[in-house]
């Protein structure tokens, strides 16, 4: 028997502690609290998991694209602004009429940016040959292949741009700092001649009986910059290869 055994004190304290609580009501209340606690825990877990996924995604994206804030050139709209083609040039554009002579027949060299905005197109699948247009010139015997198609598929970040001119259009594929000529489409009455088909510069010359149009595409400060020069053909010897 313990020295603290005291039935009277035990009885008094038991009386002070009150009756036994209603087990069923207490059990129901406890079950509600358990449900609330489990819901709170589920919400906490879900929120934590969602935040973890979000942070992981952001971290992976940041690691995969460190400092990628440069603008991708090639679709800038400023190239379409300079349509400084004189009336002479417009006359040349209708070069199918062979009798049309430019009003200013002197050696004016009109340099323009592309008449229209470069259009991104898909790379042609088949090899392209520039055919001699009707009323062709001296090389009408055998069509000369001018623009061999690019055999390599476009790179991941490659873009393809088309530059039209009065003498025809060319399609250039850009892959990083490298340009590749993928398509040449002379205008009727013009014949194409590829001067340089890949590298940091692409140059194609379209010639008709009386006009020569040279399209030169370069990458200048990361921007694809076309340059179109047109001149009458009778002055070609005086300014050879001028852009």
């Amino acid at each position: 028997m313990s020295e603290f055994h005291d039935p009277d004190l035990r009885q008094e304290l038991a009386r002070l502690s009150g009756p036994y609580p209603d087990d069923n009501a207490a059990f129901a209340a406890w079950q509600r609290r358990v449900g609330q606690a489990r819901r709170r825990r589920a919400v906490a877990w879900t929120t934590g998991a969602a935040l973890s996924v979000l942070l992981g995604t952001v971290a992976v994206a940041a690691l995969n694209n460190p400092g990628r804030h440069t603008l991708v050139p090639g679709k800038s709209t400023d190239s379409s602004a300079d349509v400084s083609i004189s009336s002479t040039t417009m006359a040349k554009e209708s070069s199918t009429t062979e009798s049309t002579e430019p009003e200013t027949s002197d050696s004016t060299v009109v340099e323009t940016t592309p008449i229209t905005e470069p259009v991104e197109t898909s790379v042609p699948e088949t090899e392209v040959e520039a055919t001699v247009a009707a009323g062709g010139g001296s090389n009408s015997g055998s069509p000369k292949p001018h623009a061999p198609a690019t055999s390599a598929p476009p790179a991941v970040q490659a873009s393809t741009l088309t530059f039209p001119s009065a003498g025809g259009s060319i399609t250039v594929q850009r892959d990083g700092d490298k340009l590749t000529l993928v398509h040449v489409d002379p205008a009727p009455g013009f014949q194409s001649d590829t001067n340089k088909k890949s590298g940091n510069r692409v140059e194609v010359t379209f010639e008709s009986n009386d006009h020569r149009v040279t399209i030169t595409v370069r990458i200048v400060n990361g921007v694809v910059t076309p340059n179109v020069s047109e001149r009458p053909k009778d002055h070609q010897d005086s300014v050879p290869g001028s852009t």
Binding site: F4, D8, E12, A14, L16, G18, P21, A26, F27, W30
Partner: protein
């Protein structure tokens, strides 16, 4: 009612519910009564015990491997009471500072029924809990020591001091009843 259990988690869940349920039904009332005596407020005591059982349910996979799961629940409830007591003490002191007057504890010195709760309320908290666990929850001295995280000698000291103070009131009550 027949249950179809298809996965191991179903079995575990049923086992958890059954075990915690049985513990709740077996010990909830005794714990509430003991802690009511310890803290003087039945609602606070019931809230602390329920909270302890909720925690036991949430952590049952760990708690079930303890030697004395009920002892763990009891300690959680007592700690909850300590937290409430500290909170109430801070609140009372703050109110006292705001009022600028010392708090007066009203103690009824006349009736036997009011003397015992008043004396009990004046006991130190650890003594009060030890008395409640020993005399109401009917724990052994070792179990009380484990619940309070003190030595058995300390528990004996608490019981001796508490009993000597309360015994006088109980004796007086017996005298009143015998005179009647």
């Amino acid at each position: 009612m027949a249950y179809t259990l298809t996965t191991m988690s179903d079995y575990e869940e049923v086992e958890v519910v059954a075990t915690v349920d049985s513990l709740f039904r077996a010990h909830y009332g005794r714990l509430v009564r003991a802690l009511t005596l310890a803290c003087g407020d039945r609602e606070v005591a019931a809230d602390a015990v329920q909270e302890a059982f909720v925690k036991a349910h949430l952590h049952w996979r760990r708690v079930q491997h303890y030697d004395d799961p009920v002892g763990w629940i009891r300690r959680v409830a007592i700690n909850r009471l300590h937290d409430d007591h500290r909170r109430q003490s801070r609140k009372g002191k703050a109110l006292q500072r705001l009022a600028g007057e010392p708090q007066v504890i009203e103690v009824d010195q006349h009736g036997v029924d009011s003397d015992l709760p008043a004396l009990l309320a004046q006991l130190p908290k650890q003594q009060r809990i030890a008395m409640a666990l020993f005399y109401v929850d009917e724990l052994s001295i070792a179990e009380v020591a484990s619940a309070l995280d003190v030595s058995q000698g300390a528990v004996k000291s608490y019981l001796h001091q508490g009993r000597s103070r309360l015994r006088s009131v109980v004796d007086r009550e017996e005298e009143v009843h015998s005179d009647e």
